[in-house]
């Protein structure tokens, strides 16, 4: 990648004996919407703090906007917007006071940079005199994003901005991120929600401090490498047990109201699976081939990692 906005190489960080981040390497381009996807304990927060120059790496290095996070921390701090895991707002200050404060400490004012946050801020502007502590999760999230944007950063680091926020606010939030990306801002997001991966340009799937895969979501699902079937019957609880007992079963797990099934047998078809299940006494069996989602891929990759 030529002139990446973020360049990470062999980045490693431990707390005592616990390895929080194991030799992470990735480049993120200018104007990219990049997602670090993984459950708690994947090392996402550690990574964001390293990028935000708040932690020192044990080994490896990270550059943001061409500056090293250790030696060039002052420059980086001037040019990034950072939103930590817990929306770090002053609960006892009003919406407007929070925004004014964060504008002030970056040497600007809300009036001066109103246009930067307008799209987002207008959602919460009607409540500008309300204390931040009294806002709902979705509104806190929007306020925190406004605060991180007020000084016109070139890179936005958002650590789990959607965690614990309801699905509607989450969707609105992703639409905002897309708009920011179109303005040329590099947006780096982490999330434990697998379905949000599809909204990123590229993602890194992470687990226990290691990267399972880095690619575009489309490419990751294309590389799933197995035929995936979505299966339903009248007795779902029994169905899962029976599928796990099949001779060629590679994986079977619940997925929404169906079971996702992959087989070692490359010849397996919807019909052959259905016949097998009907023979075991299942009624109203529906078997359909489906395209894998990021979550399917994550599960597969996790299983490979755990077996390795």
């Amino acid at each position: 990648m030529i002139n990446p906005h973020i360049h990470i190489e062999g980045l490693t960080k431990s707390y005592g004996n616990e390895k929080a981040l194991k030799a992470l390497s990735v480049d993120i381009a200018k104007g990219e919407l990049f997602g670090f996807i993984g459950p708690d304990g994947a090392g996402k927060t550690t990574l964001f703090r390293l990028l935000a120059t708040l932690l020192l790496p044990d080994s490896g290095s990270a550059e943001v906007l061409g500056y090293d996070t250790v030696s060039g921390y002052k420059e980086i701090r001037k040019q990034i917007g950072y939103m930590p895991g817990k929306f770090s707002l002053y609960q006892d200050l009003s919406v407007e006071e929070n925004l004014n404060f964060f504008a002030g400490i970056h040497g600007t004012t809300l009036q001066e940079n109103y246009h930067l946050v307008q799209d987002i801020y207008q959602h919460i502007e009607p409540f500008k005199n309300r204390r931040a502590g009294k806002l709902s999760g979705g509104m806190k999230q929007k306020l925190a994003l406004s605060c991180a944007l007020i000084h016109q950063p070139k890179v936005l680091l958002l650590d789990e901005p959607t965690t614990g926020v309801d699905a509607v606010s989450r969707q609105e939030f992703w639409e905002m991120l897309k708009n920011l990306k179109e303005k040329g801002i590099t947006v780096v997001v982490s999330t434990p929600y697998m379905d949000e991966a599809a909204l990123c340009d590229r993602v890194a799937l992470m687990q226990k401090g290691s990267v399972l895969k880095i690619n575009t979501p489309q490419q990751i699902t294309a590389e799933f490498g197995h035929a995936l079937f979505s299966i339903r019957s009248d007795t779902m609880f029994k169905l899962l047990g029976d599928l796990l007992q099949l001779e060629n079963t590679h994986a079977a797990f619940r997925f929404g109201d169906t079971i996702h099934f992959t087989s070692h047998n490359k010849e397996e078809t919807s019909q052959s699976i259905a016949n097998n299940l009907i023979a075991q006494g299942h009624h109203n069996v529906v078997v359909e081939p489906v395209l894998p989602t990021i979550e399917d891929c994550f599960i597969l990759l996790m299983k490979m990692e755990n077996n390795a």
Binding site: R49, A52, L54, L55, P84, F87, Y90, D92, G104, H106
Partner: protein, 366 residues
């Protein structure tokens, strides 16, 4: 940039009822509590009188004393042997001794001796009793002289039993100022910085245009101002409610207070650098600052009565030196020439803590 920071800090303070209560309720309550706890002792204090003379002058003085309302006669003693036992039984707080031929000595020599013996195991009330007694005697002398135009001198000889140097005198105001400045400056700053860490806002502050020094200054300026206002409130209460003397220079006192406030603030910042939660910051402030200040600074327990190791330990308590300075200015009306050593010690401690806290204040997490 700094203005917004300071405004925000004030908003935090004014919006939190508990903070406001600690800041402004506490000084008033403490001063009144300490003040009245002491003055209450003076009403109807039990005394004994050993009158070797029993003439018209001593009788008149005794009557005047008892009429004042401060004293109540517990016993007329017959000999000096009894003095020790009435103190040991705890029956009386003060014994007044008139020398033989009192009236005669006054008319002949224009001078006579009164001995005031007090139980100074409670130094505050002992001193108050002694000074009240002296005041009444002087008053009598005044009346006496107006009748007879002869110079009269009643010399009082005061003995403080058990604590001859009387180090607890009028300690409550200097002590309270010290404790409150320590509390507000150190504890409140350390808690407010720890709160930013706890809420995660410190991360955002660090990742901003602000330099660490600006963050520190923004955090402490409001508390410097509030501490200063508090010092003034306490002095005002001391002067108006308790008639605490203010013999020295006010400007000097306030400058020394500023020195102490800045020292305490840097201690607060230092504490906040080693605690990640408000709870830790509060406990550390309590045990590392407050308790030693109360126990070892000479505020409540006279340092002279402590075991030697504790006396040595008291030297590293900044509050000990500050109390000495405040006393020197307020009670003795002395100038800087008399306590430049203490001032230098305090300034040294301040520099050490400013340096330490600036060095310890991290530009990163963990």
């Amino acid at each position: 940039m700094m203005k917004g920071f300071i405004v925000k800090e004030f908003l935090h303070i004014f919006r939190d009822r508990r903070t406001m209560l600690i800041l402004f309720g506490m000084p008033i309550v403490q001063v009144l509590l300490f003040g009245f706890a002491i003055t209450n002792e003076i009403n109807n204090a039990q005394i004994a009188i050993l009158d070797h003379s029993k003439d018209n002058v001593t009788t008149a003085i005794t009557a005047k004393m008892l009429a004042s309302g401060y004293f109540q006669l517990n016993k007329q003693l017959e000999s000096s042997d009894q003095i020790a036992s009435v103190f040991q039984n705890g029956e009386v707080k003060e014994v007044i001794v008139f020398e033989p031929d009192f009236a005669q000595k006054i008319s002949k020599n224009h001078t006579a001796k009164v001995q005031i013996i007090t139980d100074a195991s409670d130094p505050n009330s002992a001193n108050l009793l002694a000074s009240y007694t002296s005041a009444i005697l002087m008053d009598y002398v005044g009346e006496f002289s107006s009748i007879r135009p002869l110079p009269v001198n009643l010399s009082t000889q005061t003995s403080m039993l058990y604590n001859p140097e009387l180090k607890g005198v009028f300690m409550f105001v200097p002590g309270t100022i010290t404790i409150l400045l320590m509390l507000i400056s150190a504890m409140m700053t350390s808690i407010s910085i720890a709160r930013e860490k706890e809420m995660g806002t410190m991360e955002v502050l660090l990742v901003s245009h602000l330099k660490p020094l600006q963050i520190i200054i923004g955090k402490v300026i409001p508390y410097i101002l509030l501490s200063f206002v508090n010092a003034l409130v306490i002095l005002f209460l001391a002067a108006t409610v308790f008639h605490m003397p203010m013999n020295g220079s006010m400007i000097l006192l306030l400058s020394e207070s500023m020195l102490f406030i800045i020292m305490a603030l840097s201690m607060g910042i230092f504490i906040s650098t080693i605690s990640n939660t408000q709870q830790t910051a509060m406990l550390l402030s309590m045990f590392v600052l407050m308790l030693p200040t109360i126990l070892l600074s000479g505020f409540i327990f006279p340092i002279e009565n402590m075991p030697v190791p504790l006396q040595l330990l008291s030297n590293i308590m900044p509050s000990k030196w500050f109390i000495i300075i405040v006393k020197s200015i307020m009670l003795k009306g002395l100038g800087i020439a008399y306590f430049w050593k203490e001032t230098i010690i305090l300034a040294g401690m301040m520099s050490a803590f400013v340096f330490l806290s600036a060095k310890k204040f991290k530009i990163r997490l963990a």
